[in-house]
Symmetry: C2
Subunit: 389 residues, 2 copies
């Protein structure tokens, strides 16, 4: 059901003609209220696309009614003209829906460094506005229209005990290493919440879901996660309930992003335990997740734990205190390294399942942290050596 | 001529039988004096192989007479037994050459997490000691015996105006991202120098040569660079002369490492200018050099400058202050991005030469720095998904 799962939302996905392939490329999400609460987190990349610059200031007041999202062009590194294009897009959608431009958020994804064909995009917005609808088909259409190299649309929803619903859609298959935010994601809820509660729930949820995905160590200029609340359920959730529901939907979407990462043949869960702090655990997990040698070995179904240990050893002691002689590494249940040296025979490890679990024990404390990544494959190289979407 | 280019050195390369392929796998370098000056820098990886642990303490007094190097096994993550193996190797070589074990440095390279077959290795050391010789053939043989996935041996030499000679050999084709040290490299000189001068020259030379190579962002557990000085020329070089010669030989060897990196089809020179500090320039250059998306695009001959700008934007402002709106990117002479936005038409860039020059102007000061890397190719994935050497 995607973003239309909660009450009070309509959506549409259309083919504006931004993609040469003729695939759907423009999505619109509208919050019919009664509330117009909105929260968002954006990429930590210092190079921020025009739609990120626009949406950041538009959502600063905690309010928004609509989100327009296009694939087929990132509108990043396009200068003042690119910002005006995002602004004009918001104004155009505002006119169509009788809103203020400041209530329209804009997201774009695709190639960096090209202007968007504005007449094409605005005509697409006209069509999307006409097709706005509630229900499953409309939500699915919007999720499909934001895909770039994604092979499947990504949606999720939950309904809590008290009766609020959170729905969401996401896109992202490459340049997938968010920090504080990620990819394009729109979450919706019919909960009756304040802007502060929405922002707080969103921040907390992204920190342990999207921020834990690191497919290729490359952080995008366009990452955006938006949460819209309509309040149409009339239910004010208990403290923590919204956050848990948002986290649940975010985790499901994040897992779908990993599962569809460009060219991947393994989804790799790197779990670091017995660290001095969660930050230390995450630093070690991320270093392992970013090692091309670890990732290529996994592609080859090779339980090459030496590369895992070598990656862990690259994390400065000031960041993650541990004694290399205490390291243990378990791959898919087989402890191939213990006491920093040889453990069970590596030939006992079955690397054929798509989901690969790497557990690293630092022997340095009680904290843990995990990162999801993918293997490094021929298909990743192929897809990214001739990128066009 | 490799390590035998300067007067006072003998070398040998033999097939001990450590490699299944039957290729040469054991090298020995002997300094016949009169001096026994030695300097070394080692990997900054916290997981340090047994030979690194041994050699670090053996060279601490600034003296060494011999270096034994094996391919076919890294002797890393092998625990106290692995350290004893390195110690026994040094003792064995010392007995053969009538030296103290503390005067024998040990280097190993190959798979992490396997013990070395010691009888095989020690028998190889016997053969190498018998074959020690001066001259070109012996030096070339040693350079060949330290190769793993290298496709060509790497040697260099220079003779300065005052008449001292520096020679060297290197191996390294993967896990090639040194910090403070790198790969396996043995440099020799007949200069009459102190241990302090040798260490100082080596540190300075590696900082701007091997430390600027970042082929795949993966730092090894075994990286070692050794400089041996025999003093047999009888010439005490002028201040700076040794450093310049060591830097020259190191730069030539480093360039050969990049040229032979696993699976690479482009050697990529990332040069960052107009930075606030050299450290800032290097941080931006390294981030670009480590971007899989940038590297895959170069493999595909795609001048995808958006990925370069996105990588630069991932460097924290505290590390490299710059305004994204001031960024300029020039690829192989064509300024495809200026003022943070569109520049010349990207189709004007010729990406077919093996050597690719990426120039980034930060507009933030007068410092510059460069990193050499490689592209990300199918062959890199293939070679590293089924590693065995």
């Amino acid at each position: 059901m995607s973003v239309t799962a909660p009450k009070g939302f309509r959506a549409a996905g259309v083919t504006a003609g931004l993609k040469a392939s003729g695939a759907p490329d423009l999505a619109l999400v509208l919050n019919d209220g009664p509330l117009d609460v909105a929260a968002a987190v954006f990429t930590a990349n210092r190079v921020q696309a025009a739609p990120v610059q626009w949406s950041r200031q538009a959502v600063a007041d905690g309010r928004a009614r609509a989100v327009i999202l296009n694939s087929g062009g990132a509108n990043a590194c396009t200068g003042p003209e690119g910002f005006l294009d995002s602004h004009r897009t918001a104004e155009h959608v505002a006119d169509l829906l009788e809103l203020s431009a400041q209530d329209v958020l804009v997201c774009s994804t695709g190639l960096i460094g090209e202007r968007l064909p504005m007449p094409t995009l605005l005509a697409g917005a006209d069509a999307a506005a006409q097709q706005l609808a509630a229900g499953e088909t409309a939500g699915a259409g919007a999720a499909r229209a934001i895909m770039t190299t994604d092979t499947v649309p990504k949606t999720a929803q939950v309904t809590t005990a008290s009766g609020i619903t959170v729905g969401g859609m996401a896109k992202g298959a490459g340049m997938l290493a968010p920090q504080l935010a990620t990819m394009l994601v729109v979450l919706t809820t019919d909960a009756d919440v304040t802007a502060g509660a929405a922002q707080s729930a969103l921040r907390a949820a992204t920190a342990t879901t999207f921020d834990r995905v690191d497919s290729d160590a490359c952080m995008s200029t366009n990452d955006t996660v938006i949460l819209l609340a309509s309040g149409s359920s009339g239910i004010a959730p208990a403290p923590g309930e919204l956050e848990e529901a948002v986290r649940d939907v975010s985790a499901r979407l994040a897992r779908q992003l990993v599962a569809d990462a460009e060219g991947a043949s393994h989804d790799v869960h790197v779990l670091v335990r017995s660290a001095s702090t969660e930050q230390a655990a995450l630093a070690v997990a991320r270093e392992i997740a970013r090692s091309n040698l670890v990732k290529a070995a996994i592609f080859g179904n090779d339980p090459n734990w030496g590369r895992i240990v070598a990656a862990a050893g690259c994390v400065p002691e000031s960041v993650a205190p541990f004694d290399p002689a205490d390291l243990a590494v378990t791959i898919n249940g087989v402890q191939v390294c213990r006491g920093g040296g040889l453990g069970e025979d590596r030939s006992a490890v079955d690397m054929t399942p798509r989901e690969t679990l790497i557990e690293v024990d630092l022997g340095a404390g009680g904290a843990s942290g995990d990162i999801w990544t993918n293997d490094l494959t021929h298909d990743y190289v192929e897809e990214n050596s001739a990128y066009s979407s």
